[in-house]
């Protein structure tokens, strides 16, 4: 019987679009190290439905590449900060921004979402580009930050249940 989901990790972005694929690359590096109870989903573009489907007691970790952060710099912050910080602009897609998606899910789902955002500053998002130099060099730090954010979310969740 699979362990209940404690932390849901959403990987945003597309490997076709330069630095936008960095979240996927970094998550692949840590996927096998993540403990039971951590579910990793590659969503491309985060949808309200993805967040509404998060189990009630679970925490979320959203991993994305963003502009508004210096290329190659890794940022990890509580989900609530995402809604406050306008300098942070995730390269989310064609529909609603990640911050709008989170806020809408909280409103419709009638519960605050708890968790972390891990973002890496990107610079090159054109179709067919590879990772830019600063982003490629930052992948190990990005991966480490994902690992830490997951652990942080698990600890927060355990503390909330205690």
């Amino acid at each position: 019987m699979p362990a209940p989901v404690e932390v849901e990790v959403f990987i945003c972005g597309s490997p076709d679009r330069g630095d936008d694929g960095a979240a996927m690359t970094a998550c692949e590096a840590v996927r096998t190290e993540l403990p039971a109870g951590v579910r990793v989903r590659s969503v491309g573009q985060l949808d309200v439905d993805d967040l509404l489907a998060v189990p009630p007691e679970a925490r979320v970790v959203i991993v994305d590449v963003a502009t508004g952060i210096e290329p190659g710099v890794v940022l990890e912050l509580p989900l609530a900060k995402l809604l406050e910080d306008e300098t942070f602009r995730p390269r989310s897609s064609h529909a609603l921004a990640v911050s709008g998606t989170v806020a809408l899910a909280e409103l419709i789902g009638e519960r605050p979402l708890q968790g972390r955002v891990v973002a890496l500053g990107g610079t090159r998002f054109a179709m067919g580009d590879g990772l830019s130099g600063p982003v490629a060099a930052a992948i190990p730090r990005f991966a480490a930050a994902i690992r830490e954010a997951v652990e942080h979310a698990r600890t927060e969740g355990a503390a909330a249940c205690a």
Partner: protein
């Protein structure tokens, strides 16, 4: 003067630059040149992804192409897949089982439902009701936003079932699909579609009551038209001024050209005229082929004429098409019987392959040359946004003088709302314009 830092026109000119039409795939800009209150030119740049894909598919097999072109867009991958697969099947002379044809129509309905529900409820409705975003709208009109999300979910469910996954589906193959679908799988869509139909009908009533800005013009409209069904996968290319072409013959009437202000190609008629695609054009040219439920919904609005002349009424056209797509999907589900095989066998070979279908935001055209081994030697992919670009610029030229006297934030909002009416790729960002106005007159 609202802002500075712009190219200075000659005395009496007003130059308006709207820079940074931000979007994931790239950036664009809008530049208006105004003389004595009249807009002389409107230059809109929209990033265009397919150019890269035209080179990427060279040397690939048709089935590989179908998966590759789905990556062009996260919102309308089915449109790219359907256009490519029909082109190959027509070029290679491959017959298609009627149930496979029906399933493809169901798949396309799913994409229309997703795309139109997203646009109507989360992107366009906030404009009409005076909200800055879908989030602000949801705070006051939560039920409306929930309805939109539920409608979108019904579309997602279709695409996920038939396409194999919700984004960038993988099941479409030349000759059919990668697998057959059990009747029980397809009928699992019955209840969600019944619920979606109620929402779609209510959506028509909701948006028909919205008051659009006063703007009238006569555009040359182009869409597919089919003798017995509302156009999606098949039909002839027709226009409001009498054009009538096979879906393979887009290049006989239209051409793409480079314009100085944009890296993207822009499509026009060969005589230089712009033309408009999308829900308004489809309803204008093919309303008599709507599903009866959708036709009745359109009739209730009494807005068929205004849909043709006021681009802001496209939200009503989209809502009527939501009803059409949901009702059509429901009919396909009810009538479905599994075909004997998932796909018609076929033999690779040389051919010229071309086709046009109707993406949610307008007609899309593909043309391919296949070499002796049946591999792609040349490709042309013409998305709806690049075809609509010249028509949007023409409308902006007429509309912009109405807002030039407004404060920049209001002018920006009004122009954004108009651009969003055409549902170009850039419109999905909630605030995609930064307006700077310099009056040197």
């Amino acid at each position: 003067m609202h802002d500075t830092g712009l190219p200075t026109g000659t005395s009496g000119d007003l130059v308006v630059d709207i820079a940074g039409l931000t979007r994931v795939e790239g950036e664009g800009s809008l530049r208006l040149r105004v003389r004595n209150g009249a807009v002389e030119e409107a230059h809109l740049e929209i990033f265009e992804a397919p150019r890269y894909f035209e080179r990427l598919v060279v040397g690939r097999t048709p089935d590989e192409v179908i998966d590759i072109v789905a990556r062009i867009c996260g919102i309308c991958p089915v449109a790219y897949q359907m256009t490519a697969v029909h082109a190959f099947e027509h070029g290679l002379g491959i017959p298609i089982d009627p149930q496979v044809r029906a399933l493809r129509r169901l798949l396309y309905c799913g994409e229309w439902i997703e795309s139109h529900a997203l646009h109507v409820y989360l992107l366009h409705l906030p404009d009409f009701l005076g909200y800055a975003s879908a989030l602000e709208l949801a705070r006051d009109h939560r039920a409306a936003v929930e309805a939109g999300l539920n409608l979108k979910k019904a579309g997602n469910r279709i695409v996920e079932l038939i396409g194999g996954r919700a984004i960038h589906p993988v099941s479409v193959r030349v000759g059919g699909f990668s697998r057959t679908f059990l009747r029980t799988e397809i009928t699992s869509l019955r209840e969600p579609l019944a619920a979606a139909l109620e929402i779609a009908l209510a959506t028509v009533d909701l948006v028909a009551g919205l008051v659009p800005p006063d703007f009238q013009r006569e555009a040359r409209m182009v869409a597919l038209r089919h003798p017995t069904e509302y156009p999606m996968n098949e039909g002839r290319i027709v226009s409001t001024d009498g054009l009538d072409l096979a879906p393979t013959d887009w290049l006989d009437e239209f051409q793409e050209g480079q314009v100085a202000w944009s890296h993207a190609l822009q499509a026009r008629s060969r005589d230089g005229r712009p033309y408009l695609l999308g829900p308004g054009s489809r309803l204008t040219l093919a309303a008599d082929q709507l599903h009866p439920t959708a036709a009745a919904a359109l009739a209730r609005t009494g807005l068929a004429g205004e849909i043709r002349t006021n681009p802001y009424r496209s939200i009503v056209a989209r809502a009527v098409e939501l009803v059409d797509a949901v009702a059509e999907a429901h009919d396909v589900v009810e009538a479905y019987q599994p075909p004997d095989r998932s796909a018609t066998p076929w033999t690779p070979g040389p051919c010229t392959a071309a086709w046009a279908t109707e993406a949610p935001r307008g007609m899309i055209f593909h043309a391919y040359q296949l070499d002796e081994q049946g591999l792609i030697a040349d490709a042309r992919i013409v998305p709806p946004t690049s075809q609509n670009q010249a028509a949007i610029e023409a409308d902006l030229t007429i509309f912009a003088p109405q807002v030039l006297g407004l404060p920049s934030d209001q002018a920006t909002h009004r122009i954004e709302q108009l651009i969003r009416s055409y549902d170009p790729c850039i419109s999905c960002a909630t605030h995609f314009l930064q307006l700077h106005i310099e009056d040197v007159g």
